[in-house]
């Protein structure tokens, strides 16, 4: 019986060969990530255990949520995490971007098992790693031992056919999939994206797609690494291990998405699976637009939005927040003149980090509406309990910022 990529990676990490979905594996962790949203709890748990980090070279501590320190409590947490990292010589990324983007730029390789104390850790499946989010106690256990027990998940195979039309993006694929599966449709399962359509999606697009596997309850999302992955890694010394699913691998469910028939999609308040075609709600008034996050704050996303905004002004009653996902992306955007385009259009450029996605800045008041390129639109996440958030592709966000209401990116094209 063949194995899925996820079964292969977890068998390798467990020192086993023939375990399959449903079996429990004690996996060796390639790298572990924690951040300032939960890191303090992890350190407390580690202290209670009387344990120390198992391998300083495999642990990253990242300040990305409450930055620059937004309150005294944030400053306290940051100081604690800096001191902890210094004490044990861990990799500390101090306010340089969203944790997931930094992990991808600096650490993660295909075939790795990565554990992060953040639910969007599943992003790293975009290059064929097995990555999943855990709480701070599991994070502490992994930090103490370098291992974590995991149930090998069943896999839902999502076959991508054809190519995306103009104005339709990887974000639209994953919104469609989450809408169809539902917020718990993939609970305990992995989402594997395959097929000829997968080969046409950039690594950045694959990160966007895998990032939101958790929004269907998934344990992880994954693409099988290929020539696109190889190209993405061309400047990295190490290339990791490229695992692929066997042709006779067993899947619990198979879904086909016809990319050439896909239009722009949008998730409506207050759940990510509340997905409709953009044209259904075009014209909805917005007060704020947000371009950024670990989902869609990468250079391709900024290029798409800047392409829309070039030489134009955003609607006078819309606040448009642009947050590059990392310092590296910020510098790239600066070098390419994208930041100038955003500023001239009337945008506010924020420091790299989690930003407005979780209400770290750019919060909403009662009745206000935001369209964002991020991954969650839960009630009260971005501010007042009676504010609303819509999730869409960077292009839909940019055209909406110009119009002052939700707009179909194909309009006027």
């Amino acid at each position: 019986m063949g194995q899925t990529i996820v079964e292969k990676i977890l068998n390798q990490a467990g020192g086993t060969k023939d375990l399959s979905a449903g079996d429990i594996v004690n996996a060796r962790v390639s790298c572990l990530m924690t951040n300032d949203a939960v890191g303090e709890l992890l350190i407390q748990a580690l202290d209670e255990l009387g344990a120390k980090p198992w391998d300083k070279d495999r642990i990253a501590v990242i300040l990305d949520h409450y930055i620059p320190a937004t309150t005294e409590n944030a400053a306290r947490t940051h100081k604690l995490l800096r001191d902890f990292s210094k004490k044990y010589g861990l990799h500390m990324f101090d306010q340089q971007g969203v944790c997931h983007q930094l992990m991808l730029e600096n650490s993660v390789l295909p075939g790795d098992v990565v554990i992060g104390t953040d639910s969007h850790t599943c992003t790293y499946g975009g290059i064929g790693a097995f990555a999943t989010g855990v709480g701070s106690t599991d994070g502490a256990a992994a930090m103490a031992t370098g291992e974590l027990w995991l149930k090998i998940p069943e896999t839902i195979k999502i076959e991508l056919k054809g190519r995306l039309p103009d104005h339709v993006h990887p974000k639209d694929i994953i919104l469609k999939v989450v809408g169809d599966l539902g917020a718990d449709g993939a609970t305990y399962k992995a989402l594997q994206f395959s097929g000829e359509g997968a080969a046409s999606i950039s690594t950045e697009g694959r990160f966007t797609i895998c990032n939101m596997a958790i929004e269907a309850g998934g344990k992880t999302g994954v693409f099988e690494p290929d020539a696109v992955t190889e190209d993405y890694l061309k400047d990295r010394k190490e290339k990791g291990t490229f695992f692929k699913s066997d042709p006779d691998a067993v899947y619990c469910e198979q879904i086909t998405v016809h990319l050439d028939q896909l239009g722009p999609h949008i998730a409506c308040p207050w759940s990510v699976d509340n997905v409709v075609a953009v044209e259904k709600i075009a014209g909805t008034h917005i007060d704020q637009a947000f371009l950024g996050s670990c989902t869609n704050g990468r250079i391709e996303d900024l290029r798409i939005a800047a392409g829309v905004l070039k030489g134009k002004k955003i609607h006078p009653e819309v606040r448009f927040l642009v947050t590059p996902a990392s310092r590296h992306i910020y510098q790239q955007a600066m070098a390419e003149g994208l930041l100038e385009t955003f500023l001239s259009a009337g945008a506010i450029i924020c420091n790299p980090g989690c930003s407005a996605c979780f209400g770290g800045q750019g919060m909403l008041w009662e009745g206000e509406v935001c369209i964002g390129s991020h991954n969650r639109n839960f009630r009260a996440r971005m501010g007042h309990r009676d504010s609303k958030v819509y999730l869409a592709s960077p292009e839909t966000v940019a055209v909406s910022a110009l119009a002052g209401n939700i707009e179909d990116p194909r309009k006027g094209a």
Partner: protein, 165 residues
């Protein structure tokens, strides 16, 4: 583990972690943070909840973020068990790691009202409403996870193991 008996707080489907504890409060000390629990949907909850109360909820309870502050805040407020039609994966694991019993039961939800008293036997998954004698079957946990809960969570469990080994 003995029977857990308590008064019910009822919540609906898809209660996400931003409802259980909004992200902007995560860096508050736990004793302060817990007073914000469930604020977006039931602002009075944190003040009125009593030690020993139980949460009953619909599907996909705890979906969203991996923040362990979500079960931690509920536990700190005195919640002693959560019965939901289903749980999101990370929340479920976090709750067990903190020693907070989580039981899946689809049938209880429709039959119970806020303020009712229920009795849960975690070992068997049996849930009983003493007032009318109705009984429901909920999920059970494998022995090693029950042992974690009996020890008060993964950290005390591991500490106890280290001491005996």
């Amino acid at each position: 583990m003995s029977v857990i008996k308590g008064k019910v707080w009822k919540f609906g489907d898809g209660v996400d972690t931003d409802i259980i504890i909004p992200a902007r409060y995560l860096i508050l000390p736990l004793e302060e943070m817990k007073h914000k629990a469930m604020e977006p949907v039931k602002p009075e909850f944190a003040e009125k909840v009593n030690e020993g109360d139980i949460i009953v909820a619909g599907q996909n309870f705890g979906c969203g973020s991996s923040r362990e502050q979500a079960p931690a805040a509920l536990k700190a407020l005195g919640i002693r068990a959560i019965v939901a039609a289903s749980f999101a994966r990370i929340f479920y694991r976090n709750a067990i790691n903190l020693g907070l019993p989580v039981i899946e039961c689809r049938d209880l939800y429709e039959q119970v009202d806020e303020g009712d008293v229920i009795e849960i036997t975690p070992l068997t998954g049996k849930i009983r409403m003493p007032e009318n004698g109705m009984e429901f079957s909920g999920s059970t946990l494998p022995d090693f996870l029950l042992e974690i809960i009996n020890n008060g969570g993964l950290i005390p469990y591991l500490s106890a193991k280290f001491k005996t080994s």
